[in-house]
């Protein structure tokens, strides 16, 4: 019996070898990882769509070299376990030469450990936690700013609006807790009173958490986390009579936020968020991208779609450079990663892209945005309160 099974397995393995070799022939795959299902899929799907659009529009140079270029989309469900499991599959597929990936820092950080050990290039369209690049991995680069700047920007902004006290909440992920910590540190430094600092994984019933928050009557509530949780929290805070200002982070940047929270959010002190990726129309290079995106997917690009596009463009360019250096042959993963990092003044639709030695942008953009309409369709018209260009901290 045992012998029989072994024979079958061996036969199968022998049968599969030529298939594997054939598929490897001239195919290059670029993976995307983002939440395609679940509460954060609104953003995750558009990151994938942006990358898909870039692949279609920019794959010509590689095809001329004789390669077949394909997209390999993965769904990380905004969950570290799924992200890591996918990353193992990605690493195991030899045709995948780069990963555009992750919306959540908490998912990117453990998943990229696998990319790092496989020398697989990873360009992040949205991850802002400092640890993403501070590990110094040569494979991991990002095209957005950092939370140790973003949190500071948020704190300085509320301080400039005359806020004296703050209550800080977060979602206990690497991303949410990270940015909340930076906000809290800077707020304290500026002499504001931080009346509370608390994390929660609750998504629906905030009654108990809100009791001390409402009692504190802070001028501003900061929420470090993602819109699908933050908006429900803000809504219930308003229902309990909180009248101050709400401010959140780039995880809040989604039209879903107002469809969850409704018009009450904009009352009182108003609703603000900081972000590292403003609406696509803010970038001069995105006019064509916006019309193409709308033509293909039937809706305006959501935040981070343009970053998804640029991340893919960078990956394609890196692969192209590496392939050229290898004499128009399939390049090694290591060379692709090095080529991505070496790109100089890359012309992305979101601006010129240069990486420093850690993989951060040499200068990143930060925005403070005020939500002005409870209509999700008008999310892209939100008022830009401030735009800043800041280099990463040394």
């Amino acid at each position: 019996m045992m012998k029989k099974t072994l024979t079958v397995v061996l036969l199968l393995a022998v049968a599969l070898i030529p298939v594997a070799v054939l598929a490897q022939g001239g195919t290059i795959k670029i993976a995307t990882q983002s939440p395609l299902s679940g509460g954060q899929s609104a953003i995750g799907v558009d990151i994938k769509n942006g990358a898909e659009l870039a692949l279609e529009q920019l794959k010509a140079p590689l095809e001329k070299m004789g390669f077949k270029v394909e997209l390999a989309p993965y769904d990380d469900q905004a969950n570290p376990d799924n992200g890591v499991a996918n990353s193992k599959n990605i690493v195991a597929d030899p045709t995948i030469l780069a990963v555009v990936g992750h919306y959540n820092s908490g998912v990117q950080i453990p998943s990229s450990e696998n990319y790092h050990s496989a020398n697989l290039a990873n360009v992040s369209p949205a991850n802002t936690n400092p640890k993403v690049t501070d590990r110094g991995y040569a494979e991991v680069s990002r095209i957005v700013g950092r939370d140790d700047v973003q949190g500071v920007v948020a704190a300085q902004f509320v301080h400039s609006k005359g806020m004296k006290s703050a209550y800080v909440l977060h979602d206990k992920t690497a991303y949410g807790q990270g940015i909340a910590t930076f906000f809290q540190q800077e707020a304290k430094k500026l002499g504001m009173k931080v009346q509370g600092f608390e994390g929660t994984e609750e998504k629906a019933n905030f009654d108990a958490i809100l009791a001390p928050v409402i009692a504190a009557k802070s001028d501003v509530i900061f929420f470090g986390g993602i819109y699908d949780q933050a908006s429900v929290f803000f809504k219930q805070a308003r229902e309990k009579g909180y009248k101050g200002m709400f401010i959140s982070d780039d995880g809040y940047d989604s039209p879903e936020a107002v469809s969850i929270g409704g018009p009450a959010l904009l009352e009182g002190g108003g609703l603000y968020y900081t972000t590292v990726a403003g609406p696509a129309k803010l970038y001069p290079g995105t006019a064509k991208f916006q019309t193409d995106f709308k033509a293909k997917y039937g809706a305006d690009p959501r935040p981070f779609a343009a970053q998804g596009y640029d991340s893919m463009a960078i990956c394609l360019k890196g692969i192209e450079e590496a392939a050229k250096a290898a004499g128009n042959k399939l390049p090694a993963r290591k060379d692709v990663a090095a080529a991505v990092r070496k790109l100089k003044d890359f012309n992305g639709i979101t601006g010129k892209i240069n990486f420093n030695e850690k993989g951060d942008l040499t200068v990143a953009k930060y925005f403070v945005i005020q939500v002005i309409s409870p209509d999700p369709a008008k999310w892209n018209d939100n008022k830009i309160d401030k735009t800043l260009d800041i280099a990463p901290p040394k």
């Binding site: 509370g196 994390g199 994984e201 629906a204 108990a208 009791a211 219930q236």
Partner: protein, 396 residues
């Protein structure tokens, strides 16, 4: 001599069975609220001389006792609202346990199905523009329709579940239907996920904003220790409480004053003898699942109304806690489920609301379940059959 007609009125069994649970509900809510309030005030008094008081003064500008008092009305209202949601779910667990002696772990998914169907109905109405500029009466009418549809869907699913997954296993060892229940639970959870993600890829749903449910009803303003205390309650909390009370009264009436209720109780006491007396066992079991499921479904819609956001896993924690509430009250005992739900809802809300302040920010609301369940364990050590449970021998 008005007492005589009142007594005669009360002795009418159908009226008595409608009114009696109301008395129980009021006395249970009042008693557990008073006990917990006194406890928390005692803790605040003890903490007055410690660093906690200074923490309150520096972070909230009031001393610890005033802070506790100021939060108290809102905490009580939140706790009782949550308690009624738990009670409505717990009744489903306890009814099935009473009749079949097994824990229907898929009941939390019945709750989720009720929530999703009800919310989908409202979302469809919202998309059709039904809610633009409707009167308050119409808003409440539509809410009631959504609750009823949720009840029908949840009750129907529960009956289907009984016929497909549990009835063939009726004679099997106890562990077998339990495993089947866990399987059904996973199946239903993923079924909701599949159906809900067909359209947009997102499987959470948001309760549409309409009517005056988010508004607050101001009850009164009064001064305590120099600070104005605003006592107000959200309309949706009122709706949840009233709906739950009406359902509990109806349930009590069905179980205690109707023929089918008597039959169900007979089956619960002794299935074989009941069968010999000409009672249709399968019908009784189906009705039990139908009623329990409908209650769970209504609780689901009410939960969505109160907390806005639902996802396919929404049933897990409320279901687990309602099960705990049923055990705390004494599983198999309907009054016990009500008491257990109220106590657990209040305990959880009290723990969550005061833990952060009393520990000076060291342990937040996220630890509320530890405290609530620690108390549960203590209660069960001293009363293993629950607060109202009776010591009964195992059924043959």
């Amino acid at each position: 001599m008005i007492a005589v007609p009142i007594r005669r009125f009360y002795q009418n069994p159908s009226i008595r069975e409608l009114i009696r649970p109301l008395g129980q509900i009021i006395s249970f809510s009042a008693a557990s609220s008073v006990v917990l309030s006194l406890l928390i005030l005692l803790v605040a008094l003890v903490l007055r001389g410690t660093a906690v008081n200074e923490y309150a003064l520096s972070h909230y500008q009031v001393d610890i006792l005033t802070l506790t008092l100021k939060n108290l009305p809102q905490v009580l209202i939140d706790g009782i609202t949550l308690g009624f949601v738990y009670a409505a779910i717990a009744l489903g667990y306890t009814m099935v346990y009473g009749v079949l002696e097994f824990i229907n772990f898929a009941h939390s998914e019945i709750f989720a199905i009720g929530a999703f169907v009800g919310v989908e109905v409202l979302i469809a109405m919202n998309n059709a523009g039904v809610f633009t500029g409707i009167s308050l009466w119409a808003a409440y009418g539509f809410l009631i329709i959504a609750i009823l549809v949720g009840m029908v869907a949840a009750g129907g699913t529960a009956v289907l579940m009984e016929i497909v997954a549990y009835r063939p296993l009726r004679g099997a060892p106890r562990l077998v239907p339990l495993i089947s229940a866990i399987g059904v639970s996973f199946f239903l959870q993923d079924l909701i996920r599949l159906v809900e993600s067909l359209t947009t890829g997102q499987f959470h749903r948001i309760f549409p904003t309409f009517g005056n449910f988010d508004k607050r009803l101001l009850i009164s303003n009064f001064d305590i220790a120099g600070t104005t205390l605003e006592l107000n309650i959200q309309f949706k909390s009122i709706i949840v409480i009233i709906a739950a009370v009406v359902m509990l009264m109806l349930l009590n009436y069905i179980v205690n004053a109707t023929k089918i209720g008597t039959a169900i109780r007979a089956v619960a006491q002794d299935r074989a003898s009941a069968s010999l007396m000409g009672i249709n066992i399968n019908l009784c079991v189906v009705v039990t699942f139908l009623i329990g499921g409908a209650l769970g479904g209504a609780a689901g819609v009410l939960y969505a109304l109160k907390f806005t956001r639902i996802d396919p896993f929404v049933g897990f924690f409320p279901g687990l806690k309602a099960f705990t509430a049923a055990v705390l009250g004494g599983i198999g005992n309907l009054t016990g489920a009500l008491l257990g739900g109220l106590v657990l809802g209040l305990l959880e809300t009290f723990a969550g609301s005061y833990l952060y302040i009393f520990t000076m920010g060291a342990a937040g609301a996220e630890y509320k379940d530890i405290l609530a369940f620690a108390i549960l364990i203590i209660v069960l050590i001293f009363r293993p059959s629950g607060l109202l449970g009776e010591q009964v021998g195992q059924k043959a």
